[in-house]
């Protein structure tokens, strides 16, 4: 996705080397995906479902200022 859009940054993080990040994002299984700090899931998904999560993360961010805090969309674990 980062290849296709200038708005996307993709980080591949080796969890064992950075235990502080693994703790912060509660990584208990891999691959764990965290989108915009508000949406997360564990495991590979078909592309359409992956896209749905990214879309949800973007929409969740857009709502943030007016509703008194982002609706946190915590999937997976």
């Amino acid at each position: 996705m980062a290849v296709e859009s200038e708005h996307v940054t993709a980080d591949v993080i080796e969890a064992q080397e950075f235990p502080d990040l693994a703790r912060k994002y509660a990584v208990r299984g891999v691959p764990k995906i965290v989108i915009n700090e508000n949406t997360e899931f564990v495991g590979a998904l078909p592309e359409d479902q992956y896209l749905a999560r990214v879309r949800a993360a973007v929409e969740s961010n857009a709502e943030t200022p007016t509703n008194g805090g982002a609706e946190r969309n915590q999937d997976g674990i």
Partner: protein, 151 residues
């Protein structure tokens, strides 16, 4: 020590020859091993193996160029790329967004690295039209973190 076997080198070289289009800059940040032991400061155990691995990968195509920075001497550039820890590297080429790697891309991650280098070189992906359309309509930034382990 050679990190990629001769057989794998040959396979990757052919794959690169066939698929790479534009040049790709691999910009790596590392930390040199200090002879002084500072209590409480962890040494970067994967910095050197990561550098060796990237050197071997970069040697497999003329289109790949590796630059290695000591992070303490290149803070501005690291900040600009959002890199605050080592080992880390970015792949720059025809991609529109940014792809960053934190930690050594070994095991399963190695094949993801090779695939990402090719995508960054071509600026193209196998994503569906629906996904591409969504990405094209984005007006705000999206950060995707993928946590992995080597095995």
């Amino acid at each position: 020590m050679q990190m990629i076997s001769d057989k794998d080198r040959q396979t990757i070289r052919e794959h690169f020859d066939e698929r790479l289009k534009g040049d790709v800059d691999l910009i790596m940040f590392t930390e040199r091993q200090s002879p002084i032991i500072i209590p409480g400061k962890e040494t970067c155990e994967t910095c050197e193996p990561t550098r060796e691995l990237l050197e071997e990968v970069a040697s497999l195509s003329d289109k790949l160029k590796l630059t290695v920075h000591e992070i303490s001497e290149a803070r501005d550039q690291a900040d600009e790329l959002g890199i605050d820890r080592v080992p880390a590297f970015v792949a720059h080429g025809a991609s529109r967004g940014q792809v960053r790697f934190f930690g050594i891309p070994s095991g399963y991650e190695f094949s993801a690295l090779i695939a990402d280098i090719i995508d960054v070189s071509t600026g193209e992906t196998d994503l569906s039209e629906a996904t591409k359309q969504f990405l094209g309509s984005l007006t705000q930034n999206v950060n995707i973190k993928v946590f992995t382990t080597p095995t």
